[in-house]
């Protein structure tokens, strides 16, 4: 099975304090720790496991600036066979549809049987996989937490839906699936693994190579544009307790007792 996995380099929101930069034009980027989007990492692991079972190849692609190369390389260290980087100044400012359009062009250069994306990334939009499926006119399923290969024409899949129930479906190949966390346990990538792929060439695809007119992608093609970031004024917010560890713990005990939290 030829599998393409789409990955994004993001500041991990679990590891970073995200705050708004001057004028709200961007978040403060200095001191942020970047990594591969968590959902995408599960998607790469799943692709590798499928290929380990039924054979084939895993290609990892990222749309981003040249710094995205580091996460493509990391996912190759995990076991992906090839890496691709789609980068072009004209891609800057793309909305979800712009990113999906770039990925569509990547997908059309090679014959893939399956394309995986993470279910969502840092902006929480959860949109690129579904758009890519529609652009390619392939069937799509989101929030996938189970994949079984059934012959070479179809997959049996599970989707995670509300309340933790699982919706089982059959889906024809080729298809696009967005992967939910928890579908597998992504393998650890050690320094040795990274070293092994340190000098592997990662082909770079720009708008010209992908046959994309500049007006269809980037800020020029975007119908959804982020104007600024801000921190909402939400009600009173939490009353923050401060002091030494001892003092804070004491205040918490008092509050918990008062509210019946200690039984």
């Amino acid at each position: 099975m030829e599998i393409l996995v789409c990955v994004k380099r993001v500041p991990d929101s679990a590891e970073n304090e995200i705050s708004v930069g001057p004028g709200g034009a961007d978040i403060r980027r200095e001191d942020l720790v970047y990594s591969v989007n968590e959902w995408d990492n599960y998607a790469v692991e799943e692709a590798i496991q499928i290929v380990e079972r039924v054979g084939g190849n895993v290609t990892v692609v990222s749309v981003g600036d040249t710094e995205a190369e580091e996460i493509v390389r990391r996912e190759m260290a995990m076991g992906a066979n090839q890496g691709l980087l789609a980068t072009d100044a004209a891609f800057t400012g793309s909305d979800g549809l712009g990113i999906a359009t770039i990925l569509e062009a990547v997908a059309r250069k090679t014959k893939y049987d399956l394309i995986l994306t993470g279910a969502q990334a840092d902006d929480g939009a959860a949109q690129v996989g579904g758009m890519l499926g529609a652009l390619l006119d392939w069937p799509y399923a989101s929030l996938v937490n189970l994949i079984k290969v059934e012959g070479d024409k179809a997959l049996r899949i599970g989707r995670e839906i509300e309340g933790g129930s699982q919706e089982i479906s059959d889906i024809e190949l080729p298809c696009v699936l967005s992967i939910q966390t928890g579908i597998n346990e992504p393998r650890y990538v050690g320094i040795r693994g990274i070293r092994k792929v340190a000098s592997v060439e990662i082909p770079v695809l720009d708008g010209g190579a992908l046959g994309l007119p500049p007006e269809t992608v980037g800020a020029a093609g975007a119908r959804v544009r982020r104007v600024d970031y801000f921190v909402p004024q939400t009600g009173a917010g939490a009353e923050m307790l401060t002091g030494s560890t001892e003092e804070v713990a004491g205040k918490l005990v008092d509050l918990l007792k008062a509210k019946g939290g200690i039984k």
Partner: protein, 322 residues
């Protein structure tokens, strides 16, 4: 404009989901004064159509046995067929909406506006919406060109439900349009979540642990606190993904919906999917090392601290106070 504003209604066990009336409010915020139309698809959906009719202009009923289960791959071509050019469709940003919406926007050739939490207004054909990014740590104003129409997903709980009965809608049976649909994804079965050894939905004091605990080896620190308090242990999604605790203990839209009196959130960032599983307005205490964590926007009491330092001291003090 009204003729082109639609709300897709999902339903469970013959009743419209809570999102239906929230979407009415969202539609009116987007297009002041509008009376949106509703789309209801399924098998035997007459009662659902009647139930919601009073809140919409027209209710289009698509009643077919083949639509008994809401398969987004089957409904997408139906909506492409029946929606008029330039239509704006609102959906809940839930597991169905985000399955259907992105691809639908492409097939309709309209703008996709995902996970809207607020509206700043409409200026000409520019929709000004509010979204959240980075797990709710920051918000963003987005401007969307909806001249050609739009598919908009609305975050559950972000808009108050509208009062039912503001319109005198009529049900229009369009079931004939829903014949001969085909999809390359077919529904097989629904597997209900397994019941665990504990039912956290019945507990009135919950101590919930999240990614901030750092390592499986640290879970006993939380268990000791739980025992000292006489509370029950629950968790957020990353803890289940890492297989440190059972799925039965997960609070959130993809886990359990709980309604405790007291909820102590330890190292939980506070994604809307997690907070969406906490009902009943509990006394909510949050401890997190990240002062920007979204959980502090909804907590009653907040503490910025390292769990590994604070928890043993807290447990000790509780035991001493007994």
């Amino acid at each position: 404009m009204d003729a082109k504003i639609f709300v897709f209604i999902t339903h469970t066990d013959g009743k419209a989901d809570d999102s239906a009336l929230e979407l009415v409010t969202a539609a009116r915020s987007l297009f002041p004064g509008c009376t949106p139309n509703a789309l209801v698809a399924g098998s035997g959906v007459g009662p659902v159509c009647q139930e919601v009719a009073a809140s919409f202009g027209e209710v289009w009923k698509f009643d077919q046995a083949a639509l008994a289960y809401p398969n987004a791959e089957l409904l997408r071509p139906l909506l492409v067929k029946v929606l008029p050019a330039g239509a704006t469709l609102l959906l809940a940003h839930n597991t169905f909406g985000l399955d259907l919406g992105p691809g639908l926007s492409v097939k309709l050739g309209v703008t996709y506006v995902p996970d809207v939490v607020g509206v700043d207004g409409l200026e000409g054909t520019t929709l000004k919406a509010v979204r959240q990014e980075y797990a709710g740590q920051v918000s963003a104003h987005v401007h969307c060109d909806i001249a050609r129409g739009a598919v908009i997903t609305v975050r559950p709980g972000a808009f108050k439900p509208a009062e039912a009965g503001a319109a005198a809608g009529q049900v229009v049976d369009r079931s004939e349009d829903a014949t001969g649909l085909a999809a390359r994804r077919t529904f097989v079965e629904l597997i209900q979540a397994e019941a665990g050894d504990i039912d956290i939905t019945r507990e009135d004091v919950l101590v919930s642990v999240g990614r901030g605990i750092g390592d499986k080896e640290n879970i006993p620190l939380v268990e000791e606190l739980v025992e000292a308090m006489g509370a029950a242990l629950s968790c957020s999604r990353p803890i289940v993904d890492a297989k440190w605790l059972d799925k039965a203990r997960q609070v959130g839209t993809s886990g359990k919906t709980v309604k405790p009196r007291v909820y102590l959130a330890l190292g939980i960032s506070g994604s809307f999917q997690h907070v969406g599983g906490i009902k009943g307005n509990p006394f909510l205490l949050a401890i997190n090392k990240n002062p920007k964590a979204a959980i502090f926007q909804v907590a009653t009491i907040g503490v910025v601290a390292d769990l590994l330092e604070l928890l043993p001291v807290l447990t000790e003090k509780i035991l001493k106070s007994r």
